[in-house]
Amino acid sequence: MKQTKTKFFLITLLIAFGNTLFAQLSVSGTVVDQDGQPIPGVTILDDNNKTNGTVTDFDGNYTISVPSDGTIKVSFIGYQSQSIAVSGQTNINISLEEDISALDEVVITGYGSQVKKSDLTGSIASVSSADFENQPLIRVDQALQARAAGVAVTQTSGAPGAGYKIRIRGANSITGNNNPLYVVDGLVVGNINNLNASDISSMEVLKDASATAIYGNRGANGVVLITTKSGKKGKAKIQVDSFFGTSQVVQNIPVMTPAEFAEGVNLRDAAPGKPATIDADRIAELRAGAGVNWQDYFFRSAPFSNIVVSASGGSDDIDYYISANTYKAKATVINQDFNRLNLRANINAQLNDKLKVGINNFVSRSENTGARVNLATGIAWDMNTPPRNSSGEYNSIPLVPGVGNGTNMPLLVPENNSVENISDQLISSIYANYNITDQITLNISAGIEKIDFTNSSYEHGITGPNKAVVKDQQALRLQNTNRLSYKNDNPDHAFQADLVHEQQSFEMTFREATASDFFTDSTNFKELSLAGIQNTDSGISNEKLESFLARINYSLYEKYLFTASVRADGSSKFNKDNRWGTFPSGSLAWRISQEDFLKDHSTISSLKARASFGVTGSQAVDPFSTISIPGISSENNYPFTGGIPSIGVAPSTQMPNPDLTWETTTQFNIGFDIGLWDSKALLSVDYYSKKTEDILLSRVLPEFVGPTSITQNAGEVENKGFDISLNTVLYEKNDWSINSNFNLSANKNKVVKLVDGIESMVLGNIYYNSTFPVNPTRVEVGQPISTFRGYHFEGVYQTGDAQGTPGHAKYRDLNNDNQITSEDIGNIGDGNPDFTWGWNLNLDYKDLNLNMVFEGAQGNEIYNFQRMRMMGLGSAQFHAVHADFRDSWSTTNPSNTIHAGTQAARDANQWLSSQWLEDGSYTTLRSASLTYNLKDTLSVLGVEQFKVFVNGENLFIITDYSGFDPVSTASGNSDVDLGIDYNAFPISRSFSIGFNLTF
């Protein structure tokens, strides 16, 4: 540094002496970048006399003598040059704009590597903070939604702070986990739920095998690399971002009036010689306004607020970024609250010119409180019974027993029970980077992730027998990565090589205490020792992973690019002989636009063709999957003496499989990137074909075998599809700038093979055993992973039909045996969309910015079991509440869509049928924000920037789906039960205002 300074000084001196002949104006000022940081070494030239010039000093200051009517030219590599007329000014401060085309953006590819977008050979979607800075965000995954081609980000719940489901190029595994691998600043983490979106500098989604193979056995589902912000050298910068607003559910489900409900009850309960269940007087009262629409009690307008404060900066040797964030939200469903708090400190220190160290620290707490009302049964509860009687006491059960459904009054649970789920997460990593020579670097890093979950709940005596459950679960992940890198500096033969050794361990423990028979409800789960019966449970599991990786990148004449890698992984989850797996990959790219014939083409500014191939793996099974684990829990204890139960040890419900090994995914990808009209339009198209073999499959065994499941390596799944993204500058003139980022993903998922000789398997176990004796989905060869099963509904038998009872539902007799038996259950659809798309439109006019995010899916179906229950069907549901029930068949209303409302027609109705299947396609305006930048207006107060904005989320959803919304479904993260709507937490529409202050 000292040397550089001296050089500046000498040059300045020389230039100054060479220009003493003319009597001129002395102009001085400071040159800064977009962020206001001074830039040293910027060349300032007299435009009329190229021998007259200077460079800025370390603080960005310059002084130059030029003719008072002259022009100065300011230039610095990496920034756009400017010519400024002096016009007699003696003080000219200059702000330089960075000169980066999108192709020069640096993309992070994992294990310390950064590659210019133009040099990429694999398929990677990159989202940087600039892309989402105008959208107020709570969660990190929200930023990926609609912004990355090939990345399906689905909101599976409208609960504040709740998770999103991310699938990269479809689901590979059937029962194994299909979540991508999350890597935060080089450290693999269990989840990204608590991260603060404002801390994110960039996110890269690794999609094809050449990009993911470096993560070997955990790369098969794609990898999301998250890089958090670090401080920039210069003046300390303090930033405050805040927004607050309210949310509502997007829509309610239409129901009948209470009087119509009561008439429906009487129709269904009608039996010879029996008086009406709800008498005429009461129906008259209901008509006059008595009765309840339960949704009015379940939903509310819910406020939320978010504040982020950060400070960043740095000196020559040290930079820092620290931030704090609190987010508080009530849910649109009563009695559900969410709070999140997190802190981050990222610090890097250059100890000397060879050694750099740093630490990234993140701690957070999130709290979900409140027992949730059961929407599925609650909405379908008795409309005749108000929640409280005239003296204010609960009507715990229907006024007329056996009306509505078998559950208690739905408000009892949320208003009396307690639930508190706390998650504490610590992510801490340190690294040391040592330049052994100019070309060889050794990087050693280590990290800890610790997540503690504390889930406490209490069931109040008013709802039934009181009971408290407190569960503490702790997960600890340790990681150490050692990397040796070589990089030459020959531009014609650019060569880079990395060798990596990595080890990880993961340990999970839990302790659970269940207590019941409390003599008082006053202390709920906070004092378990007051319970008459106390049980405990605990468990521990562990897994270890050791890996070696070698990777090379080679670029020939900046035209031909090659990448190859090989990774070996050893996992403790498998037995010795199957433990190690090897995962190779290779890719190449040809920058056609660097060839002479295309070099200075007027339209095509860049063109690159890419191809890649590679193998990745998945070990997404639980530890101890190879062995039998005896069942030890109260489910196996028995009171031989009629008193205190004896402890039982039951044989495993899992059949051991010592041969279990890796699931492997082979992926082939070709694509091209083309830039047109000086990169005003950038189009990327990728085609991929993935084949997953030796799938880790948890197969249901028939009951007589004993164990109910076995985890096997069996079967094959194929995913083929396109990712297309198109970034365009639509308009850029005067004060206007319009940018569009559109992407489209189409994925076709197909099961090629299951266990030998088996054509279909029942795997989704969520509904099996409770509501439906036959599972609503199954996995079948030749079909997508989740296929809906059911009878084919063909309308309603009408009076005069040759067959069937008028008013009863008609089903297709698939095997033509003139009977409707379980043989007539067929495939009736699936929950996979044909394609999904996202569109981010950004408009700037002067200091105004409008940012809109549209998003949609096409061609997926939803099994609407919420509606089925509301039609009076399903386990322990006696009567209908849905508005569609008005259109039930009767002799005077020969409906062909809804069967009759009688008990006989209900009994003849099949719950699993295409009658409850609906098109789930939708288009939504996910987010729209209007921002006004007040820029310099507050500069007198030392404020550098002040932006205010208004935002709306889910302003509209265009869909034919009749439920709350087509986005959230109850199946959560599961891929075998995709698209089942039952007791889902509806997504919300929200409005917020906020500001962004920098000083």
Binding site: A271, P272, G273, L355, V357, S396, I397, P401, G402, N408, A432, Y434, S445, G461, I462, T463, G464, N482, Q503, S505, N535, G539, N542, S572, P623, I629, P630, I632, E635, N636, N637, Y638, P639, F640, T641, G642, G643, I644, P645, I647, G648, V649, A650, P651, P702, F704, V705, G706, S760, M761, V762, Y768, P773, N775, T821, S822, G874, S875, R906, D907
Partner: protein, 506 residues
């Protein structure tokens, strides 16, 4: 420069401290059934077998496939469609294999059989004392036999899955006869090795009278439909008589039989225990047999004709509830409304309720009535009636058999069962008379259906059904309705052939 190296070395060595070169799973927290060492280990492995008996007998669900008998009907509305399928005989050719609750006993008993098989396998390598091992094995095989017998009675022939086998799911169904044979082998082993009744404080555990009673039940079933081997009647009589001759079991006064205090009395031969110490799970029989207005679920109640034919007397009063309790739920408590009861004719379901389980009901736990009294699997009255029937059926009716029948009849009339009383005693009885008596004595106890199909009298009993019953009869039953369709999910995951095609008797 030296300084840099120093820092770096310290740094690097610090990082290498944690290393996981050993990639073995730490399995020290996992227990193994292959290593049963002590008496305690044996009991721990035995416990989940009994647990499955408890789970399967917990409520009305075990009876789902037997609602066709005349001692059971259900609510015409609500969610009782699966029960109506059986009450109205809407099955028999593979249809309705996919309904709720049908597979409840299937799942419960197969799990019991698995637990028993695993324990017997574990005994092969066990180092526990031989005497303990023999008793434990006898208990496991006794319960396995009872579970198998229950399943075969309902579903017909089943694959044979016993200890020492490693089933894959590809197994085929054996014949009913073959199933009877391995059940018999298990029970004979159990009979020889189980302790005498009353010899342990563990009231829930099986004694030799359980094995003998189950054998008597097996032989009586074997003699009737579908195998129809009349030579088994004599064996049934012998085993029942052995239980009687033990002199341990007695009949309780009928009005005290169903009280909480008389749980595990000397009338009980085997019962499933439901302890309050386990929490609020209990058994659902009071709720299943109570109407909604009495804080139950209206799952099962007697058919009108059955109730009408039931002879008046102490037993009828102990068996049914005719003044239906009128209750609500408020403030976390079950409360009594006014009027406190409503006569059955005007009640919610226009039927009487069973009173056998509500007699011991607990109204203080939660929103529904619940039971903690053990559920009887076999009780002494059944042994007496099996003996009488087997003697009659084998043409060797004698004084001892009549005495057995008369003991039940005297007790039913509220009299001392052991004192002859001409006002109730009979001097002759046909098989039919005894089966009818058994229907009354064991009404609602998951016995009547099996007696009706075994003796092939289901058709004639159904013909007498009161037309005022609200659950419609889809058809008059034939032999096709004697067995239940195998659960659709079991068919889908295995190579089993559905009834009636897969039903093979010999």
């Amino acid at each position: 420069m030296k300084y840099t190296y120093k820092i770096f070395t310290i740094f690097a060595s610090f990082l290498f401290v944690f290393s996981c070169s050993d990639l073995e799973e730490d399995r020290s927290g996992i227990l193994s059934l292959d290593n049963l060492q002590s008496e305690g280990d044996l009991v721990a492995a035995l416990t989940p077998i009994y647990k499955q008996l408890q789970v399967t007998y917990r409520g009305f669900l075990i009876r789902t496939n037997t609602f066709g008998s005349d001692d059971l009907t259900t609510w015409w509305g609500g969610n009782k469609a699966p029960l109506r399928v059986f009450d109205g005989f809407n099955y028999g050719n593979g249809e309705n294999a996919d309904i709720n609750w049908l597979d409840y006993d299937w799942k419960g008993f197969w799990k019991l059989i698995y637990h028993a098989n695993s324990l017997v396998n574990g005994l092969q390598t066990s180092t526990a004392p031989e005497a303990s091992k023999a008793i434990i094995e006898a208990e496991a095989r006794c319960l396995r036999a009872i579970a198998y017998l229950s399943l075969v009675k309902v579903y017909g022939n089943l694959p044979i899955i016993l200890d020492g086998m490693t089933p894959t799911g590809d197994e085929q169904r054996a014949t009913v006869l073959e199933n009877y044979q391995h059940i018999e082998v298990d029970l004979l082993f159990a009979e020889a090795n189980l302790p005498a009744p009353g010899s342990t404080a563990n009231v829930g555990r099986a004694s030799t009278s359980v094995a003998k009673t189950a054998l008597a039940d097996l032989y009586l079933t074997w003699a009737g439909w579908p195998v129809k081997d009349p030579s088994k009647n004599a064996l049934a009589a012998t085993k029942a008589k052995e239980v009687i001759d033990m002199g341990y079991h007695t009949l309780l006064p009928i009005n005290e039989l169903w009280s909480m205090e008389n749980a595990n009395s000397k009338e009980s031969i085997l019962s499933a225990q439901y302890s309050k110490e386990e929490g609020a799970t209990g058994n659902q029989m009071p709720a299943a047999t109570s109407f909604h207005m009495a804080r139950g679920w209206s799952d099962m109640y007697p058919e009108l004709q059955f109730f009408k034919d039931f002879p008046e007397g102490a037993r009828k009063d102990a068996t049914f509830v005719t003044d239906i309790p009128n209750r609500g739920f408020s403030g976390g408590k079950i409360v009594t409304k006014t009027p406190a009861t409503i006569s059955w004719e005007k009640s919610e379901r226009f039927h009487p309720m069973y009173g056998k389980w509500t007699k011991s009901e607990d109204l203080t736990v939660g929103p529904r009535t619940i039971g903690f009294r053990p559920i009887e699997v076999y009780r002494y009255a059944e042994v007496l009636l099996i003996y009488a029937e087997a003697k009659a059926a084998s043409g060797s009716m004698d004084a001892s058999a009549l005495e057995a029948l008369n003991q039940v009849k005297r007790r039913a009339a509220g009299l001392d069962p052991n004192a002859a009383n001409p006002s109730v005693d009979v001097t002759s009885a046909t098989v039919n008379d005894i089966v009818t008596e058994k229907g009354w004595e064991l009404a609602g106890e998951h016995k009547r259906w099996f007696d009706l199909i075994r003796t092939e009298t289901l058709e004639e009993v159904t013909a007498k059904r009161d037309p005022k019953e609200q659950v419609p009869l889809v058809r008059q039953p034939t032999k096709d309705q004697y067995i239940t369709p195998l659960p659709a999910e079991a068919i889908a995951t295995s190579k089993l052939i559905q009834n009636p095609q897969g039903f093979k008797i010999r």
